[in-house]
Point group: D2
Chain length 296, copies 4
C-alpha cells in the first residue's frame, strides 16, 4: 500500500473589493466578494513541500485587485472569465481554475426625487453570483443568486404524503410558504448579455414563485426551473437549493380565539431543505461546471 | 456586610412572529421580532426561589401572539405600547416594562407590472425598530432603524487630526465613507403618525448623509441628527451608532498602475465606532428611555 | 431651541491581536480582541468638522499593537489599564477612556504526554473579559467571562409562578436548565492577582451552578453571585446576563413511548433572558464602571 | 427539447436534540445536530405535485427523536447508520439516504475535585461529525471533526513559490501558521470502535500538526493525512479543508521598535483555502460517500 494524493485544490477565498467608476461626476460601483480556486498537479507541494508550482494565494488576491484596476470590472461573469483564463494560461501547473463571485447590490440615495451621483445604500442581503470554471479548453459559466427570501401567505398546500408510525403532520390546503432561494443556471455559451439575462431570470423566478399554486416546495422548485428553461434558450439547466422556512400557525384556542392563518411563529431550526435541478433533455450534463461549489 | 440584589430585569427575547391581514384578497403582513423586558421587585424570586411574582417568559411570548390575534398589529410603536401597558397594568410586581421590536420589511413580488396580492420578497436586511418603556405613569417611545448600510465614493475627507508617536495615518481629502446606520429618535409624545414619521426621518438621514461634505464621521453624524431635529418638532433627540466600515485604496504601484480611489479593499475588523446623540437644549433628558438598550 | 451634542464617544472596535512571548523555546501566547473608547469634549469635531481633538481610531489601533510590543501584555486587566491611562494622560481632549478586552484561550497540543512548546489549539469559545474605565482620577476594573455554556440534566424546577389568561406553561419539578453565562465582577481596587482571581471566580460560578437546586434561573443567578461575594472580599458586585436556552422534552406519546426527560428538542428562539446584579450593601455603586458596555 | 428533472434530494436539516441517559445517578448526555437527506424517484412530486412518495421532513425529524428514545443513541456513526437504514428500508421511493450528524462536546463541571453527576459545561466549539450514506446495499461511513482551531508560533515557512507580475509576498522561513481543521475520514467497513478511533485520529492530527516542520499548509495537510493512514489500517482516505487564518506581523518600525514575530494582526478575510485528500492507492474510490457534503 502507498499513500497518494487524491483530489485537491487551493485558492484565495472572500476577497472583498469595491471598484468605483469615477469616469464622470456620476459614479458607479461594483461591490464584490471574489474567491479563486486553482486545480492541477500540486503533488510535490503536498509531499515534499516544494512550492515551485504554488502561485501564492496572496498573489491571487493581488491579481483580483490589479485586474479591477486595469479595465472596468464589467459584469461578474466576464470578470470571472478573465481571471480564470489568466490563471490557467499563465501558470503551467494550473490545469483548471474556478472563480466564484458574489455581487452586493447598491442603490443610489434618493435626493430631491432622483438618485445621488456618489451616495449609495445597500439594496439588501440578496447577492447576484457567478461561478466560472475553465480548464484551458472549455469555459462553463453559471449565473445565479443567493438569499432571495420569498413568502406566500396563501396559495400553498401540502397533502397526499405517505404516513408512517412517526408521522404526526396534518395535511393542509392552506399554509404559508417561505424560502430563501439559492439558484444557479448554466449557460450553453460562455458569452452573453449577462446583466439583461440576470434581470429576466430573476423576474421569472419571482413571478413563478408568486403565481404557482404550490402543492409542495418541490413542485414550486420544478415550476420555477421549468419556466426559466422555457423562456431562455441559452440556459441548459437550473439548480436550486430551497430551505423551507417554516411558519407555524399559533394555537390560539387556550386564549379563546381562532387563528385563521393570521398569526405565525417563525421557526429557525430544523428546516426542510429541498434541492433539485431541472435540465433540458438534449444537452450534455456538465458535472465539472458544478464541482466544488458550496451548494447541492 | 450583606449581599443585596442590585438592578435586575427579565423577559422573553426574540419572539419571531408574522401576522397576516387576510381581510381581503390583497393580503398585508407584518414580520416582527419582539423582545419584552419586565422590571420590578423580584427580590424573593432571586433570594429564595419564590416565583409568585414571576410572570413566565413563556406567558410573555403567548401574550405577544395573542395581542397580534386580538386586533391588527398596526405600527410597531403602538403594538409595543399596548404590550408594555398590559404587563405593567396587569402584574402587581411589574414596575416598568420595556418592549423592543424589530420589523423586517417585505415588498410585493412584481407580476405583470404590479405587486402580487399574496406573494412577497424580503426588502433587505435593514430593520425598522421601536423601543417603548412604560413605568405606569409615563411612556417613552423611541423609533429607529438598524443596518441601513450607506456609502459615499467621494465627498469625504479626514484631516487636521492630532498626531502622536503612534500615528501613521495620512491625511486625506478624498476617501470612501461607509457605515451601517443604527439610529433611534425619542418622541416627545407617546402618540403620532409613526409610519409617516419613520419614512420622513429615514429619508432625511439618507439625504443628509449623501449631501453633507463630510469632514469626519462625527461631523456627518451631527449633521444627520441636526437635520432630523430641525425638521421634526416632535422629536426630542436622536442617537446614532456608526461603525466606520473602512475601505482602503489598494496600492497598485507594485503592478505599475496608479489607483485614483478606484479599487478598494473592504476591511471587516477592526473598525472605527462613532457614537453620539444630538438633542434639543430645551427638553429634559430621559435616560430611563434608553436604559437597557443594546447600543450606546 | 438650539441643537446641542448629547453623550458621545468614539474609538476602535475589535482589534484582533496575537502576542507571542518567544523568550525561550517554550512559547506563550495571548490572543486578544481589544476595543478602545474615548470620551471627552469632541463638540467641535461634530459641529464644524474640526478634528484637532480627534486622535484617529487608526492611531488607537497602532497604540494597542505598540504597547504589546513594548512590554509583555500580561493580564488583560493590566493591559487595559495601561491603555486607558495612556489615552487620558496623553490626549488633552480625552476626559475618560474605556478599554474592553476579550481573551481567547489556547491550550498546548498534547504530544507524547505533555504540551508542545509552540503548537496550540483553541480551548473553546468561552472568553475571559476585562473592561477598564479611567477618568484621570479613578480606575474601575471589571473582570468577566462570556459564552460559558452550562447545562444541568436535573436539579432544576419552575413552579409557583402566577398564571394569567395567557399562561399555558405547566409547572415542573424536573427540567433541563441550560444557559450561556456572561458575567462581570467589579473589583474594589484597580490592582490584584487577576489570573488567580479569575480562575477562582470561574470555578465558584461553575460549582454553584452545579450544586444549587434551582427554583428558577433567577434563583441560580443570585446564588452564583452571592457565593462569589462571600468568597472574594475584593469584589464589590457581580452582574450576569443569562439566556435561558430552552430544552423542551419531546412528546413521544404519538409514537407509543414515554419520554421521562430523556430526549429534548433544543430551541434557538425565543429565549428567556434573565439579567441581574448582586452587590454588597456597604459599597458605593459605580454606574460609570458599567456605562457603555454591551450587556445589561 | 423537453424539460426533465436532474439530480435532486430533500430532507430535514439541523434537528437539534439532546438525549440524556438517566439510567443511574450519574447522567450522560449526547448533544447532536442531525440532518437527513433522502434521494430517489421524486419526479412526480416535482412535476405534478403528487406527494405520495414524499415522506414529510417533519416525519424525518420525528424519526430522529423517536429513535433516540427507543434505544440509547450510542456513537453518532451507529445512530446515523440506524436512521439511514430505516429510511431506505421502509420507504419504497427512497433509493439512498444520507445522514449527517454533528456532536457537541460537554464536560462535567468540576466540583470538589471530580466531575459532577448531572451538571456540564460545553467543551468548546469543535464538533465531532459523522456522515453516513446507504443505498440499500452498501453503507459508507465518514467520521470527522470541524472547527478544530490550531496555531503554531514557529516551525512554519513558505518559500520557493513562483513569482509573477502580481506577486508581492516576501518569502519567509518563520511565520505563524493557523487553521481551523475540517477533516473527514472514510472507513473501509461500516462498523468499528468509533469512539476509540475518533480519539486516536484526532490525537494523530493534532500531534502531526504540531511536530511537522511546515513548508506550506499543503505540506502540513499531506503529513496529517499520511500519518492517519499509516496508523489506521481501517481508514481508506482522509479529506481536509484548511483555511489559512493569516496572522501578519505588525510593522513596528514607525514606532522605532522591531517586531521579531511577536505581535500579529489577525485577519478575517480574505483567507487562503487549502483542500485536499490523501488516500491509499489500493482501495477503490467512493465518490458516492462524499456526494452532497458541504465541504470539498
Amino acid at each position: 500500500m502507498a499513500v497518494v494524493m487524491g483530489p485537491n485544490q487551493y485558492g484565495k477565498a472572500e476577497v472583498r473589493m469595491v471598484a468605483v467608476d469615477r469616469g464622470g461626476p456620476r459614479h458607479h460601483l461594483r461591490d464584490l466578494t471574489v474567491s479563486t480556486t486553482l486545480r492541477g498537479d500540486f503533488t510535490e507541494a503536498h509531499r515534499t513541500g516544494d512550492n515551485s508550482a504554488v502561485l501564492p494565494t496572496d498573489t491571487q488576491k493581488n491579481t483580483v485587485h490589479a485586474f479591477a484596476q486595469q479595465q472596468p470590472v464589467g459584469e461578474i461573469e466576464d470578470f470571472a472569465l478573465r481571471l480564470a483564463h489568466h490563471f490557467v494560461e499563465s501558470q503551467p501547473a494550473v490545469r483548471e481554475a474556478q472563480v466564484q463571485i458574489e455581487e452586493h447590490a447598491w442603490e443610489r440615495v434618493p435626493v430631491g426625487g432622483s438618485g445621488h451621483d456618489h451616495a449609495f445604500h445597500r439594496a439588501g442581503d440578496e447577492k447576484r453570483t457567478a461561478a466560472v470554471t475553465f480548464d484551458g479548453a472549455q469555459a462553463h459559466v453559471l449565473s445565479g443568486l443567493r438569499d432571495l427570501v420569498v413568502l406566500k401567505t396563501t396559495g400553498s398546500e401540502f397533502r397526499g404524503f405517505p404516513r408512517d408510525a412517526y408521522t404526526t403532520l396534518a395535511e393542509t390546503d392552506d399554509r404559508v410558504l417561505a424560502t430563501a432561494v439559492t439558484a444557479r443556471w448554466r449557460h450553453l455559451q460562455p458569452r452573453g448579455d449577462w446583466a439583461k439575462d440576470f434581470a429576466a431570470v430573476r423576474a421569472d423566478l419571482l413571478e413563478t414563485f408568486a403565481t404557482t399554486h404550490s402543492r409542495a416546495l418541490q413542485h414550486t422548485l420544478h415550476e420555477m426551473g421549468r419556466i426559466v428553461l422555457d423562456k431562455h434558450s441559452g440556459i441548459a439547466e437550473v439548480r436550486m437549493s430551497l430551505p423551507n422556512k417554516h411558519h407555524f400557525a399559533v394555537d390560539m384556542t387556550p386564549f379563546g380565539m381562532a387563528n385563521r392563518n393570521e398569526v405565525f411563529f417563525v421557526s429557525d431550526r430544523p428546516y426542510g431543505l429541498i434541492e433539485g435541478s431541472v435540465t433540458r433533455d438534449d444537452v450534455e450534463a456538465a458535472p465539472e461546471a458544478w464541482y466544488g461549489l458550496p451548494e447541492f
